[in-house]
């Protein structure tokens, strides 16, 4: 369970560039929740993700993960329990390392110091990686010795998804992870995401600009504006909502139209 209490973050405090990125965001995600997050650019979605991941520490407020206060836990320690995908498919993988080596690095999270730092990727692990890769249905299991830089954006993003979930994370954060892919590939990666999240019952937060997806995927939808969560819907109310309803809600809560041309009204 992720519990965020009144976190605030202001960038460039006291200068002309002062930007209040998060102003008192509170959010509780139950185990197994899959929440989609919508909002225009600068609404604070990515800042919220960065705060949860520990890329910076909030000015005030508390972040708890499974009852443990992680507000000031360093990023690399948190990432043992938090899986993360970025919009840019190039960001989540190391291009000059092979698929197998990338997975080995991601799999480091599994060995909490039980295995020595000088140990190597064993046969058992290679077999495990191969099985996991086969689930992606992209033929990557036969290319484990290839550098990741040779893969397409979609393949890399699928691999990143696998790396983020190879050790089941307590939360998976997806920051528009299909936005840079072509529609067919995006759908494939999205289907994979849904499958993995469902099968492993992973608690998940996903930013999307696709309004259809925002209502279609997951069981909860959050809307952000000006560093606040302005709308939070789940259950029956959500299943009855249409894209138009969502856009109207946005206009009500934010007092403005969604003016982002990247927002897609349908699939």
């Amino acid at each position: 369970m992720l519990k965020i209490e009144k976190i605030e973050k202001t960038f460039n405090k006291g200068t002309v560039n002062e930007k209040i990125a998060l102003c008192g965001v509170s959010l509780t995600l139950e185990d197994g929740d899959f929440a989609t997050v919508v909002g225009s650019n600068g609404a604070g979605k990515s800042t919220l993700f960065n705060a949860i991941a520990g890329s910076f520490f909030p000015d005030s407020g508390i972040i708890e993960l499974d009852g443990k206060n992680i507000t000031f836990t360093p990023e690399h320690v948190r990432s043992r329990e938090i899986g993360r995908l970025f919009q840019d498919p190039l960001m989540g993988t190391a291009p000059n390392m092979t698929i197998e080596e990338n997975l080995s690095v991601a799999y480091l999270r599994a060995s909490k110091g039980q295995k020595g730092i000088f140990s190597r990727t064993g046969k058992k692990e290679k077999q495990f990686f191969r099985e996991q890769l086969a689930l992606l249905n992209m033929g990557l299991e036969d290319r484990m010795e290839n550098p990741v830089g040779l893969l397409s954006g979609g393949q890399r993003q699928a691999l990143t998804l696998l790396m983020a979930t190879v050790v089941t994370p307590k939360i998976l954060m997806l920051d528009e992870h299909t936005a840079a892919l072509d529609p067919a590939t995006a759908e494939k990666v999205m289907d994979l995401t849904k499958k993995i999240v469902r099968d492993r019952k992973i608690t998940c937060l996903m930013v999307t600009h696709n309004m259809h997806q925002a209502l279609d995927a997951g069981n909860r939808t959050l809307m952000m504006d000006g560093g606040r969560i302005v709308f939070d819907v789940k259950g029956e109310r959500r299943s009855g909502m249409t894209v138009d309803d969502l856009l109207r809600k946005f206009a009500e809560n934010a007092g403005a139209q969604l003016d982002n041309d990247r927002i897609l009204l349908s699939n």
């Binding site: 690399h76 990432s79 043992r80 970025f86 989540g92 690095v105 999270r109």
Partner: protein, 304 residues
């Protein structure tokens, strides 16, 4: 062999090339693998040679090797500490350490600019005295160096395949991925720089024992030479697998020394050597780019 290139010249070029390849391997780890410009090389090399020389003079030529490597580790640790803990830009961290090391090196050499190793054994003389055989007497230095470098190359290759080694590679290859996968970049950078600088220290120690002397300016411009060797090696190896890349770095270093030997034979004055070095580096750096441009021009011409 012709008169122009005697066996002796080739042999010396190989010997020095192998010693310098340690610095190239050091930069291979910091520059190619970790993607960090570590400019403390000059000072660290001198430190290694100063420590190596002093311990050798004290009568411990074998102990000099781990001592010099340890001094390199310390230097690398400080460079890493500055950039990981205190947020100093990596280039500046290297320059600061390099500057500070000048005084430390002088102190190690008991504040004299030159130190000579006479009257005591060196690792080279110890190995040479194993056999009276004439061939062995002539070639023992080269064989010893080849064995040391081969061991180091194997060690690097083995290490880069371990969990820690993979983490270090990932740190240089994709910072975003590292942040998302429980690796502490501060730790991997520190380990990487300690290892790379230990090789620089070792190179300093070997050159001191090889020349039976050292001086405070021995490291000047060493980073350029090592970079030249590295770039030559990387240009040859391209994007091949790790063992090939490591071997090519060593080969690049030997090739570089070979070019320098040629320049020597062509009676290029020693004052012009730094310029020759710089030119070789420039050519090595330009080569891959020029190759592409020429290929493009040829394609254009073929079309039109």
């Amino acid at each position: 062999m012709s008169d122009f290139l005697t066996v002796g010249i080739v042999q010396t070029a190989l010997e020095i090339g192998l010693i310098y390849s340690l610095i190239a391997l050091s930069l291979f780890i910091s520059y190619s693998i970790l993607n960090i410009c570590d400019l403390s090389t000059d000072g660290c090399y001198t430190l290694g040679s100063a420590v190596g020389a002093m311990v050798t003079i004290a009568g411990h030529p074998l102990l000099a090797i781990p001592a010099a490597m340890l001094s390199g580790v310390c230097s690398g640790f400080v460079t890493a500490l500055l950039q990981t803990r205190f947020g100093v830009e990596s280039i500046l961290a290297g320059i600061i350490v390099n500057t500070g090391l000048y005084t430390i090196n002088l102190a190690v050499m008991e504040f004299s600019a030159n130190v000579s190793i006479f009257g005591t054994d060196t690792v080279f003389s110890i190995v040479k005295n194993i056999s009276e055989n004439e061939v062995w007497q002539n070639w023992s230095k080269l064989i010893l160096l080849a064995v040391i470098i081969a061991l180091i190359c194997f060690a690097i290759h083995w290490f880069l395949g371990t969990r820690l080694g993979l983490s270090i590679r990932a740190t240089g290859d994709s910072p975003a991925m590292v942040r998302a996968s429980s690796i502490n970049p501060a730790f991997t950078i520190t380990v990487g720089l300690c290892i790379s600088n230990s090789f620089t220290g070792l190179a300093g120690c070997l050159i001191a024992q090889y020349n039976k002397s050292t001086n405070i300016t021995i490291g000047t411009g060493m980073v350029t030479i090592a970079l030249a060797s590295l770039v030559i090696g990387e240009t040859i190896s391209g994007k091949r697998k790790m063992p090939v890349r490591i071997a090519c770095v060593v080969f690049g270093s030997c090739l570089y020394r070979f070019i320098i030997s040629l320049a020597l034979r062509l009676n290029v004055p020693t004052e012009a050597f730094k310029l020759v070095s710089a030119l070789i580096v420039a050519v090595a750096l330009i080569a891959p780019n020029a190759k592409q441009k020429i290929a493009l021009q040829l394609r254009k011409r073929a079309q039109g």
